[in-house]
Symmetry: C2
Subunit: 355 residues, 2 copies
Amino acid sequence: MSRTIRLASIPGDGIGPEVVSEALKVLQAVTEGGDTVFDVTEFSLGAGRFTATGDILTDADLEAISGHDAILLGAVGGDPRDPALRGGIIERGLLLKLRFALDHYVNLRPTKVYPGVPSPLSDPGAVDFVVVREGTEGPYVGNGGSLRTGTPHEIANEVSVNTAYGVERVVRYAFDLARKRPAHRLTLVHKTNVLVFSGSLWQRTVDAVAAEYPEVAVDYQHVDAATIHLVADPARFDVIVTDNLFGDILTDLAGAISGGIGLAASGNINPDGAFPSMFEPVHGSAPDIAGQQKADPTAAILSTALLLDHLGLPEESIRVTRAVEADIEGRASASTSGHRSTSEIGDAIAAAVSS
Amino acid sequence: MSRTIRLASIPGDGIGPEVVSEALKVLQAVTEGGDTVFDVTEFSLGAGRFTATGDILTDADLEAISGHDAILLGAVGGDPRDPALRGGIIERGLLLKLRFALDHYVNLRPTKVYPGVPSPLSDPGAVDFVVVREGTEGPYVGNGGSLRTGTPHEIANEVSVNTAYGVERVVRYAFDLARKRPAHRLTLVHKTNVLVFSGSLWQRTVDAVAAEYPEVAVDYQHVDAATIHLVADPARFDVIVTDNLFGDILTDLAGAISGGIGLAASGNINPDGAFPSMFEPVHGSAPDIAGQQKADPTAAILSTALLLDHLGLPEESIRVTRAVEADIEGRASASTSGHRSTSEIGDAIAAAVSS
Ligand SMILES: CC(C)[C@H](C(=O)O)[C@@H](O)C(=O)O
Ligand SMILES: CC(C)[C@H](C(=O)O)[C@@H](O)C(=O)O
């Protein structure tokens, strides 16, 4: 009995298309000869299309994408110096619109230091943690505004919106994850000493849910202090649960300490299954190196491991992860003569998952 | 002709009193035999006093403190597990209240990697930058609220308030500083692709002021990407200008990469001179090691160098900085047998500034 998974692919801008092609190659390879078939529909979205047509994500696009079982996204965002793209028009109109419309309330971002990967930290230790970032609230809701704009009396506000409904569901997800992981630890990161209303909601929610998970050890860190611990002793973390903005900041930092954002995968997940979840590398579109086969597709490939796991294909997911790990270890021992191209890395990992 | 400087000292909680005593020792030593006399009034404020009396900062306290020429603060904040202190009641009622009441719109936080100080980064390079953090706006304004609190329908909002007036004055300060520093570079850090209203105000203000400073090279980084650069290549930064919350996060990270928050000094400055400015180490009250002479007073001592400079005593400021630098270099070459106590470090630096 074969299963067809309808996958929406959004290669996007810059290096997006290059890394997505390698990720699809690996997905193909890991399912080859098995019962699962990926039926891929490509959506041409991003800065390129916006510049050409003025459209970012139409209702028709959104409806078509929603009809899929999952989404793989490369990266979106054009030339940062292009004034027509200022204010994150593509990021908000495409990436954030998808996260909000498809209720991706869990933004899952695992961090691991792989043996042999050079970290900027002299002694990172055995780093293996997951950030569970809230994806549909906080200062990302777009509830800002400005008055007397452009005058010396301008006032520009941004509102961070946090609800018991929104916080509780992501906190529960984080506790479930902490229960399943060997270390059973959960750290709430917030800024409760300044953002007292949202901070109190997050803290009370964690306290209440913690009572149902006696096996999970819970602690709390202010976001500023958390950056110190991430640099000084990242191995102390297991599951971090945090809001949308703090999660954005901490996961880039986590990517950096673990040896580069080229390895950081993420899932934008709707755990209820009401909408398709979306998987993407944490990195951006890097227009400066686009089209040159210089991008590392590893983060995109690791994102397919999260995708496979989410779709109930844990064995395939593990095969992808193992192939990536083996490839990464090989990088450390290989002679440093000559970097591999984007597709050479994809080919190597694809070959490893099929063998 | 002698000059008397009225200094308000707020040792605060935890390790605050220990580090402030060393800082005062050094201030004393550096002015000894000269024309400047520090007349120090101590204010007993913090968690200890709040627990005893219920007062945090009365109108009378504020008035008395305002009558001084400058303020030296150690650290405030009690036992984080004490439920009576939840929600940052001391931090907000004392530290933030002073910053807002005394219009400390520039929060100045220099970062330097001193030769011989072990950094968690394997290769930090020649790090020497200053974060100019806005101190009176952003999500620190306390304009949040919650509805249906404690019910499943709770909604908790936080408002980040940003004004042209508030942004422009701190941006100008940052450009002035960048012009004086040898590298002449300024980086705006924000999240303009998500926080579009405040981000646009910050970006437009930097663009406008930049036109008056043609010698300063300006760039922009999103706050998430800035954490990557701070870890991967911190030597690229010169002056960073950013909002209150991003500045809070980035300066703790900066402290960590430069070899520990024990060296990070800061000034809460009212450049107009309308109110006394306040100098404090970036670190917290560390109640776990309080009273044991384990705290490093270096950040508090370096804060007095900022204080001296602010008060128009640049030579004394340089003498303190040099003495600290020499002491730090000595640490690297000294035998590792036995850590020095808080007062031993203070004594050594005080001796060096007087000689
Ligand atoms: C592109 C941007 C809007 C996005 C975010 O802030 O969430 C990105 O930084 C990320 O982390 O996925
Ligand atoms: C104690 C806290 C309110 C404060 C802040 O957030 O500004 C501290 O972290 C700092 O950086 O001085």
